[in-house]
C-alpha cells in the first residue's frame, strides 16, 4: 500500500522525459527576425503575419473578413470567421495573440502572446491554429522524429 520502488523509478523516468522536452523546446531558441506567424483554419493556411514588420499575406479572403490597424498601440487586428464564432487575432511587435473568440473554454485566449516556435495557439472548437514558424526551416515531421530520438538518447544515457 505504501510508496514502492517502482513508483520512484516511474516518477524519475517521467521527470527525465519532461526535462528533456523542456531543454529541447527552450534551449536553442533566439528571438529571430526570420519568424512569422501562420494562421490555419480547417488545416488550410489562411493568413501569414510578419509580426515584426506588421505586414501580412492574406491567402483566403473568405475566412479573413477584416483587417484593421491601431496607430496608438501599433497593433494589427485580424478577424477570422471560425467554425462556431468569429476569432479576433492581434499582432504587434511582441508577438501574436487571440483577443476574442466565442469558444466555450477560451483556451486560445488564455494561452496568451506567442513569438517563438514552440507553443502554438489552438482553438479547437473554431478549428483555428496559430503557429510561429521559422521562414527558413519550417516545422516538419523530421524535427518531431529528432525530438523522440533525443529523448530516447537521454533516457538510455
Amino acid at each position: 500500500m505504501k510508496f514502492k520502488i517502482g513508483d520512484l523509478i516511474l516518477i524519475l523516468v517521467a521527470l527525465a522525459l519532461t526535462i528533456g522536452g523542456f531543454i529541447y523546446i527552450y534551449f536553442p531558441k533566439h528571438y529571430d527576425s526570420n519568424y512569422i506567424a501562420k494562421v490555419e483554419f480547417n488545416n488550410q493556411v489562411v493568413l501569414k503575419v510578419d509580426f515584426l514588420n506588421l505586414t501580412e499575406e492574406v491567402i483566403d479572403d473568405e475566412v479573413v473578413t477584416s483587417i484593421s490597424y491601431d496607430m496608438f498601440k501599433q497593433e494589427k487586428t485580424y478577424t477570422l470567421k471560425g467554425r462556431i464564432s468569429e476569432v479576433v487575432i492581434c499582432a504587434s511587435k511582441n508577438g501574436i495573440y487571440v483577443k476574442a473568440s466565442g469558444c466555450p473554454d477560451h483556451i486560445c485566449i488564455n494561452t496568451g502572446i506567442i513569438n517563438t516556435p514552440g507553443r502554438p495557439i489552438a482553438c479547437i472548437p473554431n478549428r483555428v491554429l496559430i503557429t510561429v514558424i521559422d521562414v527558413e526551416a519550417d516545422l516538419s515531421w523530421k524535427r518531431v522524429v529528432i525530438v523522440f530520438v533525443r529523448l530516447l538518447c537521454l533516457l538510455f544515457s
Binding site: 500500500m1 505504501k2 510508496f3 514502492k4 520502488i5 517502482g6 513508483d7 516511474l10 516518477i11 517521467a14 521527470l15 522525459l17 519532461t18 522536452g21 523542456f22 523546446i25 490555419e40 488545416n43 466555450p104 473554454d105 483556451i107 486560445c108 488564455n110 494561452t111 514552440g118 507553443r119 502554438p120 489552438a122 479547437i124 472548437p125 478549428r127 491554429l129 503557429t131 516545422l139 515531421w141 518531431v144 525530438v147
Partner: protein, 176 residues
C-alpha cells in the same frame, strides 16, 4: 424472479461512486490552472479505487457513464472537447489497468501513469483534429503538471481505499 448480476448494495455503492466522480469532475473544471487544457483529475481517483477493490467491468462502467454524464451537464457531448476527454479516459483506463496489476507499483505509480496517458490520449485527438504535430510541444508542460496531480491523486486513492475497506467492505461481513 430472475436474480440480478448486482446486489442492491453493489448498485448503491456504484451509484455513489458515479455521483462523486461526476460532481468532482464538473466542479474541478472551474478551478483555474495557468496551462490551458489541464485539470486536476480528481475523478480518476474513483476509477483507481474501483480498479483495485472492485471488478474491471464496474470500473469501466463508471468511467464511461461519467464521461457521458459530464458531457451532458457541460453541454459538450459529441464536440471535439468531449472526444478529447473520451480518448484521454480510455488511454488512462488501459494504462491504469495494466499498471494496477503489476505488484511493483503502488497506486501512486498507477495514478501517475494514468494521468500521463490521459494527456497523451487528449493530445493525440487534438493532433488528429488540427492535423498538426506542433501540438507535441505542449507535452512537456502537461507532463510536468500531470506528474504533480498524479502523485496527489495516488495519495488520495490510498486514503480512500483505507476508508472504503473499513466502511463498505467491512459491513458486508456482518450483514450478508
Amino acid at each position: 424472479m430472475k436474480k440480478s448480476r448486482y446486489s442492491i448494495r453493489k448498485i448503491v455503492v456504484l451509484a455513489i461512486f458515479l455521483a462523486i466522480s461526476v460532481v468532482v469532475s464538473y466542479v474541478e473544471s472551474f478551478i483555474p490552472i495557468p496551462i490551458p487544457g489541464v485539470k486536476l483529475g480528481l475523478a480518476n481517483v474513483i476509477i483507481l479505487v474501483l480498479l483495485y477493490d472492485d471488478t474491471i467491468g464496474n470500473a469501466f462502467l463508471v468511467l464511461i457513464m461519467r464521461i457521458f454524464l459530464v458531457g451532458l451537464i457541460r453541454g459538450s457531448l459529441f464536440t471535439p472537447t468531449w472526444f478529447m476527454s473520451l480518448s484521454g479516459g480510455m488511454f488512462a483506463f488501459v494504462a491504469m489497468l495494466i499498471f494496477s496489476r503489476i505488484p511493483l507499483f503502488s497506486s501512486i505509480g498507477t495514478s501517475v501513469m494514468g494521468s500521463i496517458s490521459h494527456c497523451i490520449g487528449q493530445i493525440i485527438v487534438a493532433i488528429c483534429m488540427l492535423s498538426s504535430l506542433g501540438l507535441l510541444y505542449y507535452l512537456p508542460w502537461i507532463m510536468l503538471l500531470s506528474l504533480g496531480t498524479g502523485i496527489m491523486s495516488g495519495f488520495l486513492a490510498i486514503l480512500i481505499r483505507k476508508r472504503y475497506k473499513e466502511i463498505i467492505l467491512g459491513n458486508d461481513l456482518g450483514h450478508n
